[in-house]
């Protein structure tokens, strides 16, 4: 077999593999959406859930998910950014660096229930934050940091070294080079890393059951005092998220329409991740254009 035929065969195989993956993924998405979309209505998206009667919605859970995601990202993105910059730009290859990397990878392999219990005992009980969005956000930060750091580091490393040299040659310090040249160049990569992380956070349930809690008290959307427990922006209220709600309905739900609510909620979850994805991609490109003037 000559090199040309091998090339053709290999290309064909790769094409088939890519096709199979898309097929698997598409049928998965199709399955979830087909079952779920018929359940979605304005009422479903905005009304509070019901404990035992039919006709409950997911309004509060949806809001909680988004708010929790926002808070978790506010905490974890700067940390991951700093850590990623350190690993990509400052860390020299040594056993210490290897050690840090191993530590991060181990953090990522922790089962989320362990992170959840750690969060429960440390944040909820020790720091007296109670079952709250804040505890949940901190637990999610622990859960999200490794992958985020890894992604940011990779994105930074992909920026060619010539760019850095150019920055340094202009008399910028290394830090300034990173901020002004490397990060803007790596932005699309970083953003797709963030989206990936956000998706994971959005769908996470086990880490939140013991931290953000599994009850969604009614919210008063006219109350914007962050210290009040019924205020939507209070970080100290317990907040059941969409993923936790799906888990709860599947495990102990006694609503007669539990299956329908669960299917609908799953579809909403995926649609939100989808929207979020497109938005982030679009913003990333816009931002990239603006900063790099290309």
């Amino acid at each position: 077999m000559n090199a040309k035929t091998a090339d053709k065969i290999a290309t064909g195989t790769l094409r088939a593999i890519a096709g199979i993956i898309v097929l698997i993924l598409a049928s998965l998405l199709g399955y979830i959406l087909l079952r779920g979309v018929p359940q979605i209505s304005w009422h479903f998206l905005t009304s509070p859930s019901k404990a035992f009667a039919a006709g409950g919605g997911i309004g509060i859970q949806l809001f909680n998910s988004l708010y929790l995601l926002l808070l978790a990202m506010i905490i974890s993105v700067p940390l991951a950014m700093g850590a990623g910059i350190y690993l990509a730009e400052y860390a020299k290859p040594s056993w210490q660096t290897d050690f840090v990397r191993t530590a991060i990878e181990i953090l990522s392999s922790l089962p989320s229930v362990v992170v959840g219990l750690f969060g429960f005992l440390i944040f909820v009980l020790q720091f007296k934050m109670g079952f709250s969005i804040l505890s949940g956000a901190l637990a999610l930060t622990l859960f999200n940091l490794p992958l985020l750091t890894r992604n940011i580091e990779d994105a930074l490393r992909q920026v060619s070294f010539a760019q850095r040299e150019a920055g340094l040659a202009l008399g910028l310090s290394r830090w300034e080079t990173v901020l002004r040249i490397v990060i803007p160049e790596a932005l699309p990569g970083i953003i797709s890393g963030l989206v990936l992380g956000a998706g994971r956070v959005f769908g996470e349930a086990a880490a939140l059951i013991y931290t953000a809690g599994q009850s969604a008290p009614a919210l008063d959307f006219t109350n914007w005092n962050p210290a009040s427990i019924s205020s939507p922006i209070s970080p100290f209220r317990p907040a059941e998220t969409l993923a936790v709600h799906i888990w709860k309905i599947n495990s102990e739900g006694i609503q007669p329409d539990a299956a329908a609510v669960s299917a609908g909620a799953s579809a909403v979850l995926i649609i939100v991740v989808l929207l979020f994805n497109f938005l982030a991609r679009y913003l990333g490109q816009r931002l990239h254009k603006k900063i790099t003037a290309s």
Partner: protein, 308 residues
């Protein structure tokens, strides 16, 4: 400007240098925080996990080699029945099998996306992959239960619950992780390698196989480790399809269990500080140690295989 001022200006640090210092410190603090968090969790799990063996008749060897798991009860000689071998086997089984299954797919898809048809990949494959990461494990588990388990029951017999079902579900779950990390690894291979290879008259496949994949090996391995880590730590979805029986798996379609499935299902029902509870933390510790071992192993392979 007198001499002193000039001297001061020359010897004191410039604005840039200060900034540089501050930047380095900030980024170092971030990494330090992460490391501290890892240690805190590790210590936390270890303290509880080791307590199982302190002042009880349970020995480490029995824990690892016995096959009966019933923490509330004791055997004839008064030793609590804590044998974690079935769960260890189950965890390794699903993790290795699903990684074995997912790796060729992930590499294939990633090569296709980066080397053969970047446009199509960027437009279709990438968004779908990102999206899949966001599907909660509960949903995967549910699909596994309503599609995969009946499929296995009808094709291979048995109840359908078992390692095979767990493998299929995990395969789909870790595919996005492994694929997207493989993509980053391939993208990180400098263009000039490819150009050099093509200039030497190599075909595209030769370039991919002999140059790109070789130089991306450490990155790809990291992707696989992350995938395996996810498979290892995954609880809810596996729990729904593996049958969750603390029995030694007889074959791929008999009900089995994993460390995480037993951990998750038991933790809420046991009392903090009791032996039953500590035993579960020992499972968590085991999980940590095994992922540490995985990690070191793959790092070692990566170092060996890296193109110097």
């Amino acid at each position: 400007m007198n001499n002193d001022e000039i001297k001061a200006a020359l010897t004191s640090k410039s604005r840039s240098a200060k900034l540089e210092r501050r930047g380095k410190i900030i980024s170092f603090l971030c990494i330090a925080l992460i490391v501290i968090a890892v240690f805190a969790i590790f210590a936390f799990v270890a303290v509880r996990g080791i307590a199982t063996f302190v002042g009880t008749k349970v020995t480490l060897w029995n824990f690892l080699s016995k096959t009966a798991w019933a923490p509330g009860t004791t055997d004839a000689s008064g030793v609590p029945k804590l044998g974690a071998l079935p769960m260890i086997t189950g965890s390794f089984g699903v993790t290795l099998l699903s990684a074995l299954l997912a790796t060729p797919f992930a590499i294939g898809a990633a090569v296709y996306m980066t080397e053969i048809s970047p446009k199509w990949g960027e437009k279709i494959l990438q968004p779908v992959i990102d999206l899949l990461v966001g599907i909660p494990s509960v949903v995967y588990g549910f699909i596994g239960l309503s599609v995969v388990v009946p499929f296995i029951r009808n094709t291979f017999g048995g109840t359908g619950f078992g390692i095979l079902a767990g493998t299929f579900v995990l395969f789909v779950m870790i595919l996005p992780t492994v694929t997207s990390m493989t993509i980053s690894a391939l993208k990180a291979v400098p263009r000039r390698y490819r150009e050099a290879s093509l200039a030497l008259g190599a075909t595209r496949w030769q370039t991919i196989y002999k140059v790109v994949l070789r130089s991306a090996t450490p990155g790809i391995l990291t992707g696989i480790v992350f995938g395996m880590a996810r498979a290892f730590g995954e609880a809810l979805a596996v729990q729904m399809v593996i049958g969750n029986a603390a029995l030694m798996p007889k074959n791929l379609i008999s009900p089995a269990s994993t460390l995480t499935s037993v951990l998750t299902s038991g933790i809420g029902n046991t009392v903090m500080g009791s032996l039953e509870n500590n035993a579960l933390w020992t499972l968590a510790l085991l999980l940590l140690l095994m992922s540490l071992a995985f990690n070191l192993l793959v790092r070692w392979i990566g170092n060996k295989g890296a193109m110097k």
